[in-house]
């Protein structure tokens, strides 16, 4: 049974790599839309890989859609904060937006307690947490057999480390929802009605954090604290979950000449 499962996983992995290679080839030929469709297929199949999101961001950038490009660069950096190429391209894309808004900051308590975890990937924090977790229980079991002088201190440190890295991993798996504006000049209103007054406007590529949702409206907040309600159709959620983007459903609006 285990062999069958392993074989299944191997076959599936092979198909993913093939799709990835096909997408890369389409990109190299300048067929950015086709390449994006292939990358999106991987995303649809729940493949959450920083390289896939990075390449998808490049496709949208070439197609002139800053909003989706930024959203995918953000996804890539979410999974691998040390991905320098994604950071470079994200800066390039932000520099071309109208407002050049900063990324919304995480909550103050996270910035205070977990200031150290922003350069670590989810995988790193999870593995570290798991190792500390296993070591903690192992040493606790060892304590039943023999007593060591510094065992209690070591257990406490391991417990704290497991909790800290575990919290970090959980937060990385459940970040404050962020969205990127994909349309031009999106009005943000005081309420959830088209008749409500416009509080301010967002431009394509602006990054906001998402609060409440009501019907087709989402409550957005900018990095500077401006808040209001906007039509959810004008945003791409960074995730997780990494939901499908428009490329597979309709023509993606392209803005400006591709570089």
């Amino acid at each position: 049974m285990n062999a069958i499962l392993a074989l299944f996983l191997a076959l599936g992995a092979g198909a993913f790599e093939q799709t990835f290679s096909q997408a890369n080839a389409a990109y190299d030929n300048g067929q950015y839309r086709e390449a994006a469709v292939s990358y999106e297929q991987l995303v649809q199949q729940s493949v959450a890989d920083p390289a896939v999101f990075f390449n998808l961001g490049n496709c949208y950038f070439r197609l002139g859609n800053l909003g989706y490009a930024i959203a995918n660069y953000e996804r890539s950096l979410q999974l691998r904060p040390s991905f320098e190429a994604a950071r470079t391209n994200l800066d390039q894309a932000i520099a071309q937006t109208e407002h050049k808004l900063n990324r919304p900051l995480p909550p103050a308590w996270e910035q205070g307690l977990l200031f150290w975890h922003y350069d670590l990937s989810y995988r790193t924090t999870w593995i570290t947490s798991a190792v500390c977790w296993v070591l903690f229980w192992s040493l606790l079991a060892l304590r039943l057999v023999r007593r060591w002088r510094y065992l209690r201190t070591t257990l406490i440190l391991l417990a704290v480390a497991a909790a800290a890295f575990g919290t970090s991993a959980w937060i990385k798996a459940h970040p404050v929802p962020m969205a990127v504006v994909t349309a031009e000049n999106v009005p943000v209103r005081f309420g959830t009605s088209e008749d409500d007054k416009v509080r301010f406007e967002l431009a394509a590529g602006d990054r906001v954090s998402v609060g409440d949702t009501r019907g087709g409206w989402i409550q957005v907040s900018t990095g500077s604290g401006e808040r209001g309600w906007a039509d959810s159709k004008a945003f791409a959620l960074v995730g997780p979950p990494y939901t499908d983007l428009l490329m597979l459903q309709a023509d993606v609006p392209t803005g400006g000449a591709a570089q």
Partner: protein
Amino acid sequence: MRFAVTALILALAAGAYAQGTARASVSSTRVTQDVPFTITIEATGSEIGEPTPPQTSPNLKISSTPSGQGQSLSISGTSMRRSRQWMYNAVATKVGEVAIPSFTIEVDGESLKTDPVRLSVSPSSAPATRKPPGNTPNQTRRAQNSPGQGDGNPTWEDIVRIETKVDKEKVYQGEGITLTVSVWTLDWPGVMVNYTGPRNIEWPSTEGFYAGEIEHGNAYENRGNLPYNVEQFQRSVYPTQSGTLTIGPWSWQGRARAFTATGFPESRDYDLSTEPISIEVLPLPEPPPGFSGAVGSYTISASVENRDVTQGTPVKLFIRITGRGNPDAVGAPEIPALDWAHIGSPEVEIRALGSESSLIEKSFSYDLTPLAAGAHEFPGISFTCFEPLTGVYKTDTSDPVTLNVQEAPDGNRLITTSEQETAAQEKIRILAQDIEPITRDAAHLRPAQAAIAIQGGLLGVPPVAYLGFALFMRRRRRFREDISFARDYHARNKARKRLGRAASAKEPADEIFRALGDYLSDKFNQSNAGLTSQDAGALLTAHRIPQDLLDGYVKVMRACERERYASQKLSPHEIAALRSAALDKLDKVDAILRRERSA
């Protein structure tokens, strides 16, 4: 002697209690000139009449009728006494020491006078000629909407006024109009005005206008010889279309409370509304090329923070547009592309100049990074606006700015001299380069759900494993420390193993006997040395094993005992039967003992 003094005191007290009393008091012995205060008259007795106020003097005016009354009742022995209070409004009109004269009141058939009350009157800041509002309620109803009585005394209509006004009623599209909304409340002693409308006051409708910020101010003005506190709201509005536009009416709700000449305070509700204002908006003439969209009178100037710069080092370039008009309609002027420098995006700042909020300066600051050495000229920038006063378009051009660009020591390289310049240079570097290419390194592509399942499993295994290990160690320690428990736990298996070996043992019957005997001694934590079948029967009897089972168990043991001393050994068939019987009895006894223990 002591008794007599006490009796005398009590008698005097009773006597005093029996007499009527009258006294006057004030809310405060320090009052302000022309500010009303209250005099309270209190009388105690069985039968109390109405007080007679004293004659008023020029320095002190007292209302002829009380503004309020009260009474209370007390019973002492068989007599009943009443207390009554009357409140009178009064106003001191002269600064200095004033005495409230005595009030006369009939109590229990006796005419009593209150003691005078001395007051200290301090001056007020209000004009000395003011009086309380002169209208009685009846007079107010007859004199509706009449603006004053002409004698300096205000009417109810004078207490609150609202108005909206504009400085211009004929303008060009985009030209600013100052809209002023004000509330006039009468500044008069004893008059209080409160707003009772919705929490947020709706601004008059300015549909078709672009509205600027609201400025708020307070003033003190006279109108019709009456003093008013004026609360003013001002806003610049700019018509966004031509034609006739309307600034809507403005409404205000409130309540005023005032002491009238009768001495009674009265209230009146107000629901006021202004008239709408029509504005005629003229369209702009055909604009020339390069029209900025700004309506007003503006000038433009350009400057740099330093004319001597180094290649690659950014310098601030300022384009300033100064004038009167809507600052939000002033867009960034068109900057020509320079082949010798890079110009970044502008930072915008708006500020009011001097004390006039209509005169503004809007400045656009750019990071200009010279890329080529030598003397270069930044050309003049034109700005075209429409001047409403003259009705024509006006173009102003800034003076050209010359920069002397020194060659950088290392050639054309961006040099960092400050954090802000670093950011600007970084921006230039980013915009000048292409994006990073796609990556082809994507190892281990797999669905995220598989990873999550593995992670969840990994997290759950260690605590479960620890729990199992902890239980194992606990059991092991118990076996080590609790001998009776260990013997009991292993008794059955040990006996069964022994019975299993009995067939191939040298002395099979002896093995069977020992198996059954050791089982009982392990089970009941007894010594197995010298245990006989009779001892076994006693042990089983003590633990209430059923008789037939007990007899069977003992019978097998006796058979084994007899074989020990018999001349002929048992055949294998007999041994097998004995062993089978021993196993059967063993299991049954064990089952009963387990049941007994679990119960």
